[in-house]
């Protein structure tokens, strides 16, 4: 079995499958989780969070109407989500390949030494604080951290890896992969602009 798979299995060991999970081998009948049509749908999630997750590009005023709240209540909900550190901030989804001064981006697989008491956290936090690092995840499998970095040029990203990242004590190895082209970014397809609806304007 390849190394990464065995790592994944170890990480998942003892975990229960998520609710509603249907193994591929299951008979067809079990693929219908709603035996009876649910009379009322789950409405317990913060309504503003739900709209944010759906990414419907709604203004505050529209969100208020859709959620059946006042604009002030939408703001209150947003503030609560910020306080709870669920909502961290807004970022635009950009395709910088269309921009001459666009960034170079890379993913880096990093192996680090865990520490007594803190595990991977202290080093992960230290690495995350570099401005070049856009995202940083602890991973199961063949390496420990997966980090997404961006910089103005290939040289600047390479310099970050060789001069900063790999010289940190506890960083055992790095493996850098430069991104060549993006096909999908933050749920947006890069090459497929939204087409005007082809629905008939009136239909029975």
């Amino acid at each position: 079995m390849p190394e990464c798979q065995s790592g994944m299995l170890e990480a998942l060991e003892g975990m229960n499958p998520p609710e509603g999970y249907i193994p591929a081998s299951a008979p067809l009948d079990s693929a219908f989780p709603w035996k009876e049509f649910s009379p009322t749908l789950a409405r317990s999630m913060n309504p503003v969070l739900k709209l944010l997750i759906e990414g419907g590009h709604l203004t505050m005023a529209q969100m208020a109407q859709v959620a059946g709240l006042s604009e002030a209540e939408v703001n209150q909900n947003l503030e609560q989500l910020k306080k709870d550190r669920v909502f961290l901030g807004w970022r635009p989804v950009l395709d910088l390949s269309r921009e001459p001064a666009g960034a170079v981006r890379a993913v880096i697989e990093v192996k680090i030494t865990p520490e007594r008491g803190g595990g991977f956290n202290r080093l992960a936090d230290r690495i995350s604080r570099f401005d070049e690092v856009e995202s940083c995840y602890l991973m199961s499998g063949a390496y420990d951290l997966l980090i997404f970095v961006a910089g103005p040029s290939l040289q600047r990203v390479a310099a970050f890896v060789s001069e900063k990242l790999s010289t940190i004590e506890g960083v055992l190895s790095t493996s850098t992969h430069f991104m060549l082209r993006s096909y999908k970014e933050g749920s947006f397809l890069i090459e497929a602009p939204a087409e005007a609806s082809s629905r008939l304007k009136v239909s029975p």
């Binding site: 509603g20 067809l28 009948d29 693929a31 219908f32 989780p33 709603w34 035996k35 009876e36 049509f37 649910s38 009379p39 009322t40 749908l41 419907g56 590009h57 709604l58 529209q62 109407q65 859709v66 059946g68 609806s197 629905r199 008939l200 304007k201 009136v202 239909s203 029975p204």
Partner: protein
């Protein structure tokens, strides 16, 4: 030469769909927000479309059995048993058709002798009465009312019944009213059908889109399985309107009779659509759940806004249409809809397109994006305020 004289009489006599006239006008206008669309705004989920592409790549481009792919019929059999209750044999009690419209046409042609009477509730889907006429039957409409949530009542059926009635067509939840029937009412309708020895065509195309109380099929009541054709499809729940794929389940003799017509007129439903439908049943449950949740939220939004605009509108129990009364504006449904289109560029369908009992109402579909619904409701509110002076 007068070629018109060759056209069969019942086709000449058939009125053009009211929706068609309205469509012609809307199609020529720009910047219209349309609440007049009777299909989901969601694209078919990608995994379903991808299954059709895969089938095409694999050269699955031949005829299927007249009844349809046996794998699909098996999946339908399981789906119907799990969700609705009745069990149908995939071998001879299920036929795949080109939309529920074809199922209705087949069923009526298979059942109706010239002059036989077919009961149906009104307001109803635009094709019901024409389908009866084209099968040389006689339509017997049964009124449903806003005061009653456009539910169908056994008492109204009793009143409308006349000797010679053979078939009862029901569509619950209903397009255009969103009307549904609770179990108790439906049971009384079932008893009526047994007592009057009627065959029931139950068009349950919107049954996954029920927002309160759950859905019951009339086929589950005592004595009903043998006299019900359960009609369902993929268009609404799985957002697959353009695939044109649906099915009818019922006693083998009736399915066989429908199949006789189907094999000579259609041969089989398109195989790519059948492959896509199979994928929908296997892995589409979450899609249905997600879309239904959106429709529910949109329903609450549009019903609230229409009432705020002064149009009396109850929350529909199912489907994705609000069917408010425009009586408070002093206009009839046609003038209201044309005025709204002309002055505010919002398209809704005049209720009369769905039968005489639709007079005074409009159908506003909420199968459209939140931002469009909000903007359309702003415009409707402006329009009704102007009307009231």
């Amino acid at each position: 030469m007068d070629t018109k004289r060759f056209i069969a009489r019942q086709v000449v006599d058939l009125p053009k769909s009211g929706i068609r006239d309205f469509f012609e006008i809307v199609a020529k206008m720009k910047d219209v927000i349309s609440l007049g669309i009777g299909e989901p705004d969601f694209d078919t989920p990608w995994h379903i479309r991808e299954a059709a592409i895969y089938a095409l790549e694999k050269g699955r481009t031949h005829y299927t059995s007249n009844l349809g792919l046996i794998e699909l019929r098996r999946a339908i059999s399981s789906y119907v048993a799990a969700h609705y209750g009745p069990e149908y044999s995939p071998e001879d009690e299920i036929i795949i058709t080109v939309g529920v419209s074809e199922s209705i046409d087949l069923a009526l042609r298979a059942l109706v002798n010239p002059g036989d009477k077919v009961m149906y509730h009104q307001p109803c889907y635009v094709s019901y009465h024409p389908s009866v006429v084209l099968a040389h039957g006689v339509g017997v409409p049964v009124r449903t009312t806003a005061a009653d949530g456009f539910a169908l009542n056994a008492e109204d059926l009793e009143r409308a019944w006349e000797p010679g009635c053979k078939v009862l067509m029901i569509n619950l939840p209903c397009n255009p009213t969103g009307g549904t029937c609770d179990r108790a009412r439906l049971e009384r309708i079932a008893r009526f059908a047994v007592e009057k020895d009627l065959i029931v065509l139950s068009d349950e195309i919107y049954s996954e889109l029920v927002y309160e109380g759950g859905h019951t099929s009339i086929a589950v009541f005592p004595g009903m399985r043998e006299r019900t054709l359960f009609l369902h499809g993929f268009s609404k729940a799985f957002a697959m309107t353009g695939f044109r794929v649906a099915y009818a389940c019922g006693p083998a003799e009736l399915v066989e009779a429908m199949m006789k017509i189907h094999q000579y007129s259609i041969l089989c439903a398109p195989i790519l659509s059948q492959e896509a439908a199979l994928e929908a049943l296997r892995r589409g449950a979450d899609d249905v759940k997600d879309m239904r949740e959106h429709y529910l939220r949109r329903r609450d939004l549009i019903v609230r806004r229409l009432n705020e605009a002064g149009l009396s509108c109850r929350a529909p129990g199912g489907a994705f249409y609000a069917f408010p009364s425009v009586a408070s504006t002093g206009l009839d449904d046609r003038d209201f809809a044309y005025g709204l289109l002309d002055q505010e560029r919002v398209a809704v369908v005049p209720g009369r397109a769905f039968g005489p009992d639709g007079h005074g109402f409009i159908r506003a579909s909420f199968a459209t994006g939140y931002d469009q619904i909000v903007e359309a409701c702003d415009r409707i509110e402006r329009y009704t305020q102007k009307l009231r002076g």
